[in-house]
């Protein structure tokens, strides 16, 4: 068995599993701060109930993110020693700052945020909530700086095959970083918006009409409705940035083989890399030229300009289409739901039913988007500096196959457990409604470990 492909699958499985949870915690931290702020301002206990429901999901997601994140920091060494040996001088400080500033901030104040409401003053508790939210966002800042540098490396020079930093500002604020960071933060916001909306829709369908359900539902729906057009605009800008710096990735995203003008927007196709053409193509004439160059006769780069140096076309092409497709669905669903909540003050049942599976739409879009950009960087691990194949370690294929199999089983089980807990918490919240005992606020205990 080939350790390279197995290591790639293992890392992809790990990072795919990992990103699901930061996608939630980054924005959920800010939503919790919003709930807390509304409670502080209005004294309305429904906001605090929403807070306590979602802080549990935050805690669970945070734990899932931490453990899968630790796994990754070890896998750099166990499977990809060539990575740190070549670009360790750049990646090292960025990762170090992530741990030092962001991760510690989250981990230290998480205890107070989760369990400290009755032990510290309300102000300190709000501050802890802020610091955790700030920490998760800062964490995303450093990680995306490193990822973007791997996509579009600047500010370094190679000496004896090892990258050395020349200009740290250029390294952190490399060309694709601002776009990728904002794109990801918005993606997290959308993931959480739809999660909260779908979770609340499930409560709604279970007959829950409590104030805390309405508060959370409206927060999720309106946040989603506001964020999705912004995301579509930012995503477009990010695409134009990619066109400038990684044209071969855009060529693969559009499945465009020849560099030419009047390139159609391919809606459906099976890209065939052997024949170097698209099969079963369904396309809008001039579409890609129009989107990428803002003119029907704009020239779009083609894959054939990059022989042996462009990513696999099929996954990049389809990853991009799935992401955009989910984005369009998000727009339709959130605006429709927004309209009903705003004008009719309620939800039609079919729409609520649709919103429940849409709770996970953010995850699908985030994964599809990351597959597009990460597979789109291949065959490079660090564009133009280090090929993925040259970074893999000397571990035998059999060992990697064994660990991969166990990871896959473990992740599948944990994902199932996570989703069933979400469902259980939604049903429990629906049953309790506004009668759930509210700790400290109403002075009745809500024991965390002995919850019944």
């Amino acid at each position: 068995m080939d350790p390279l492909i197995l290591s790639r699958i293992q890392f992809a499985a790990n990072i795919s599993f990992h990103i699901l949870f930061p996608s939630i915690t980054i924005a959920l931290g800010w939503v919790l701060l919003f709930f807390k702020w509304r409670y502080n301002r209005t004294g309305d206990t429904a906001w605090m109930r929403a807070y306590f429901t979602w802080v549990k999901i935050f805690a669970l997601s945070f734990a899932m993110g931490v453990v899968s994140g630790i796994t990754m920091s070890f896998q750099f060494g166990t499977n990809w020693p060539g990575y740190m040996e070549t670009v360790g001088n750049i990646a090292g400080p960025l990762l170090a700052y992530e741990v030092l500033t962001a991760f510690f901030l989250e981990a230290v104040f998480l205890g107070i945020m989760l369990f400290g409401f009755s032990r510290v003053s309300n102000g300190v508790h709000t501050l802890a909530t802020f610091l955790v939210a700030f920490g998760t966002t800062l964490s995303a800042f450093w990680i995306l700086a490193l990822n973007s540098w791997m996509q579009t490396p600047t500010g370094f020079e190679m000496r004896d095959g090892v990258a050395h930093a020349v200009d740290w500002w250029a390294i952190v604020f490399n060309p694709s970083f601002p776009y990728r960071l904002i794109h990801m933060l918005l993606a997290s916001g959308l993931t959480v918006s739809f999660l909260i909306a779908g979770f609340s829709a499930l409560r709604f369908l279970a007959g829950d009409r409590s104030d805390s359900m309405w508060r959370a539902l409206r927060t999720g729906v309106f946040a989603g409705a506001i964020l999705i057009p912004v995301q579509i605009f930012v995503g477009d800008q990010h695409g134009l940035n990619t066109l400038e710096h990684q044209p071969q990735k855009v060529a693969a995203m559009e499945a465009n083989w020849e560099t030419r003008a009047n390139v159609p927007l391919v809606l459906f196709a099976i890209p065939d890399e052997k024949a170097r053409e698209n099969r079963f193509e369904l396309a809008i004439p001039n579409g890609a030229s129009l989107i990428l160059r803002h003119s029907t006769d704009g020239i779009v780069p083609g894959l054939n300009d990059y022989p042996g140096n462009h990513p696999p076309v099929f996954p990049v092409f389809w990853g991009f289409r799935i992401m955009v497709g989910v984005g369009v669905m998000m727009l339709v669903v959130s605006w429709t739901a927004g309209f009903f909540l705003w004008r009719r003050q309620t939800l039609p049942k079919p729409l609520a039913l649709l919103m429940v599976p849409m709770a996970l739409s953010g995850w699908v879009a985030v994964l599809a988007g990351w597959y597009t950009t990460e597979i789109g960087r291949q065959p490079w691990l660090v564009t133009g500096v280090l090929k993925t194949a040259d970074a893999v370690g000397p571990v035998a294929g059999g060992q990697v196959a064994f660990t991969l199999a166990v990871y896959l089983v473990l992740y599948a089980v944990l994902l199932l457990a996570y989703l069933s807990v979400l469902y259980y918490l939604a049903m429990k919240a629906a049953k309790d409604g506004d009668t759930s005992p509210l700790p400290a606020v109403l002075d009745t205990p809500l024991s965390q470990p002995a919850q019944n």
Binding site: F52, V55, K56, L60, F62, A63, M64, V66, V67, S68, I70, T71, S73, F74, G77, T78, P81, M84, G88, N89, G92, P93, L95, A96, Y97, V99, L100, T101, F103, F104, L105, A107, V108, G111, I112, L114, F115, G116, F117, S118, R119, V162, H164, A165, V395, Q399, T403, V406, L410, L414, V421, Y424, P439, A440, V441, L446, S447, Q448, P449, A450
Partner: protein, 334 residues
């Protein structure tokens, strides 16, 4: 040895990494130990035991991220060599940490009838992580050897480290709980201490015997004199702690923090011994800290950040321990 930055920075980072590992071992040691003690605890005690570590374990585990992070960023060459050599044990450690970490949260959120299975996952994860760490320590001490003897020695250290963590967990429970559970923890501490002594003895003997270089570092004059306090102090602390366990039951809470502090001191002494044995190697007999270090400029940049952040984080950590000080009550999301 000239005292310029290229010489000093790897040294400083080796020190920082050492501190991070030590703090991790002491702090997450009691978390993992409490997980291991789940094997002996009754159902009604498990909630209290979890409450004793609840607000802290996330931050405790972060020290491992910092330690591995420092290895990764400051000594990238060594990171690859050590972790590929320990591929399977590292994997088992990670599986253990994953199970432990998520079980902690799941057990509190699933329907009551499913709680037992997450309690088991918490125990299994903690035990697996502790065993894997012990095994890695054992194999590392032997210079990353392979073969049956190294494997057997790794297993021995694995069991002993798990016992040492259990001792830490018991000591933490003595501090954080009261009544029946506290009395039980005293008994747990006593049984676990036997294995802890055995393990430290085994590592102390094996290290010099496995490497003539390390033997020469310890058993020459006059270094032997300066180093003698390490084993002697450890032995005295063990003895004192052992006697203390017989008095703890009557004296109640007056000495409740002392077992934990004594164990932390013993761990520190053992760690200093190991550091002396292996310096200046980060991969035993293969890579020194200078050969494995990152570029000076990169290390300098990390150091600036560390110098600012670490004191703040240590202060914040102390604050959190104070907020959740005293006996562990029911852990509440409020």
């Amino acid at each position: 040895m000239t005292l310029d930055w290229p010489t000093l920075l790897p040294l400083i980072f080796a020190g920082l990494m050492g501190i991070a590992i030590l703090v991790y071992v002491v702090l997450d040691g009691f978390d993992l130990g409490i997980g291991i003690l789940f094997a002996a605890a009754g159902d009604h005690e498990k909630d209290t035991m979890i409450a004793a570590i609840g607000p802290f374990w996330d931050a405790n585990e972060t020290w491992l991220v910092l330690a591995v992070g420092l290895l990764l960023v400051a000594f990238p060459m060594a990171h690859g060599v050590i972790l590929t050599a320990l591929y399977i044990p590292v994997f088992l450690l990670l599986v253990g940490l994953i199970l432990r970490g998520v079980a902690f949260d799941f057990r509190a959120k699933v329907p009551t009838h499913r709680k037992a299975r997450w309690d088991f996952a918490f125990l299994a994860g903690s035990l697996l992580a502790a065993l894997a760490q012990g095994y890695m320590l054992g194999v590392y001490v032997l210079g990353l050897q392979t073969g049956l003897a190294a494997f057997a020695f790794g297993l021995l250290v694995a069991v002993c480290l798990a016992a040492a963590y259990a001792a830490m967990g018991a000591a933490w429970l003595i501090y954080k709980t009261e009544g029946e559970l506290q009395q039980k923890a005293i008994l747990w501490l006593r049984s676990a201490l036997v294995f802890t002594v055995l393990g430290m003895g085994a590592v102390s003997l094996a290290t010099p015997l496995a490497s003539p270089r390390i033997f020469a570092r310890w058993f020459v004059f006059p270094e032997m004199l300066y180093l003698a306090p390490l084993p002697i102090l450890s032995a005295l602390l063990f003895l004192w702690l052992w006697r203390l366990t017989f008095r703890l039951a009557e004296t109640g809470d007056t000495h409740s923090l002392k077992p934990f502090l004594a164990l932390a001191a013993i761990f520190t002494l053992g760690f200093l011994g190991l550091a002396w044995s292996f310096y200046p190697f980060v991969v035993p007999e293969r890579l020194t800290i200078w050969q494995a270090a990152s570029a000076t400029g990169s290390l300098g940049l990390i150091l600036v950040g560390t110098a600012f952040v670490l004191p703040v984080m240590i202060g914040a950590t102390i604050y959190v321990y104070r907020v959740f000080g005293g006996k562990a009550a029911d852990l509440r999301y409020d």
